[in-house]
């Protein structure tokens, strides 16, 4: 059995599990999204395939897989085909450092937090390349919007994370979770004696996460009422499917990161029985909030979106950064 416990083999198995996790999440979060939308809009949502519609993802995936992959003439063929891969693979790589429980982590490296952000930044480039390679005016407009949006929201996101980093003093995600052991007021979210604005930083983090994953009310990448389907306009079949998988993978990643950084990861709220169950509970509660927000708020205007970031979020996050450095120095 020594073959199975060797590090490369264990890593490979973990990566296969992550791929399955991402695929299943993508399929069933689409269902959850549609059921949720139905609830919020007072209609049943998908309910024909299987009991309560639970076979709907199977039908959707079968449909997407059996469709032809059309590469329209005039596109940049290589980049057009490469772009979906470039969107999904960084998200999967980042999940490798997320600690689902004390031991359930594919690879714990001591700069895990940095790894999530560095590979997360490839996402923007991939979306932009897909927009450019499509040779479609809607896709180009959408790509330009995505870049200005992501650049604008990357700044407050990183400032907030630096604030948190000053409190934790480490980029090792598992160590960050371990520091939040105990009752729920030991979670970074409620550590108001370290920095009184900690809940505010979490809200900023959440807003930036919504913007970085291109979710409504910030879904400028898709904006189906103005831009057909934005950067995804020219994609058919599984090309389109992979973009959606990547969107849900990024949501799972962002919510996992929020759970680890602010909500105590796999720690339980009562200081007893830490484990993967708590992580998943918090993760799916956050994901539910993301869905809730999407179906509650209308899409913002583009200028409001940029104003929100540059005029409100960046000053506040700079202030929290200064405040927490001052408090660490003083106390």
């Amino acid at each position: 059995m020594s073959f199975l416990t060797a590090e490369p083999v264990r890593l490979l198995l973990a990566l296969v599990c992550i791929m399955a996790f991402v695929g299943l999440n993508a399929a069933y979060l689409v269902l959850a999204e549609r059921k949720g939308a139905g609830r919020f809009q007072r209609r049943p949502g998908p309910n024909e395939a299987g009991y309560g519609g639970w076979l709907q993802p199977v039908a959707d995936v079968a449909k997407l897989l059996s469709k032809q992959l059309i590469v329209p003439p005039g596109t940049d063929t290589i980049l057009f085909r490469l772009a979906p891969l470039m969107v999904i693979s960084p998200a999967m790589m980042c999940l490798a450092v997320i600690p689902f429980s004390q031991t359930l982590v594919a690879r714990n490296i001591n700069v895990g937090l940095l790894m999530v952000f560095s590979f997360g930044s490839i996402n923007v480039m991939a979306i932009m390349l897909s927009g450019w390679a499509s040779r479609n005016k809607y896709a180009i407009i959408s790509a330009a919007r995505v870049v200005s949006q992501n650049v604008a929201y990357e700044i407050p996101m990183l400032l907030v994370v630096i604030t948190l980093l000053m409190v934790t003093g480490t980029m090792d995600l598992n160590e960050i979770v371990r520091q939040q052991a105990g009752w729920f007021w030991h979670w970074n979210l409620f550590k108001v004696w370290v920095n009184p604005l900690m809940p505010v930083t979490f809200v900023i983090f959440f807003i930036c996460m919504l913007a970085e994953t291109n979710r409504a009310p910030f879904d400028m990448a898709e904006a189906e009422s103005e831009l057909v389907a934005g950067v995804f306009t020219e994609y058919a079949g599984m090309g389109f499917g992979v973009f959606f998988m990547a969107e849900y993978a990024n949501i799972v990643l962002g919510c996992s990161l929020g759970t680890v950084l602010f909500l105590g990861g796999w720690q339980s709220p009562f200081g007893l029985w830490p484990g993967v169950v708590w992580f998943l509970l918090k993760l799916y509660a956050l994901i539910f909030t993301v869905i809730w927000v999407r179906w509650t708020f209308p899409r913002t205007q583009f200028y409001n979106l940029l104003n929100l970031s540059w005029k409100i979020l960046i000053p506040i996050s700079l202030f929290t950064l200064l405040l927490s450095s001052a408090m660490i120095k003083l106390f």
């Binding site: 490369p8 560095s118 923007v124 390349l129």
Partner: protein, 175 residues
Amino acid sequence: MIPGSDYLVTGIFGLIVATTVGGALLAVLSTRIIRSVTGLAMCCVGLAGLYYFLNSPFLALMEILIYVGAVCVTIIFGVMLSEPDEPEPQEKRSREALWGGVALLVSAAIFWGVARLGLQGRWPAPAAPVGDGSVQAIGISLLTTYSLPFELISLVLLVAILGALTIAHGGRGKE
């Protein structure tokens, strides 16, 4: 240790070197500027892999975060806003070929010199890994041993910001 893991490591190293060289070639040889930037990004990812092999994961991830996530994205954004992406077919002129040959010679000479220096220079004993690569260790070394480069970098950034302000000073519609 599973049998053949040495080959695995060598294979990954070869893949990283191939990514770096291939990306650099793509960046130089492509006629479409977006493909060149993609090559640049590939090259940076390969460089990050090389840093990882040199036992500095922090630097590797910073390379990706800054060069792929910021620099390449900014370049593509600038290109998309300004240039029609189809290059004009242009006839080759003899002077261009001449200058190309000179550039090739100069760069080959530089490459030969650097390679010779790297292979045969009298380097001091291989540096031991400084610190444990944690945030504290990097912060302390940035603010003590390497504080002068750190300050110089902020000076460069300041100059860049001033330059951007000067360019933007004209404002919209006053070109």
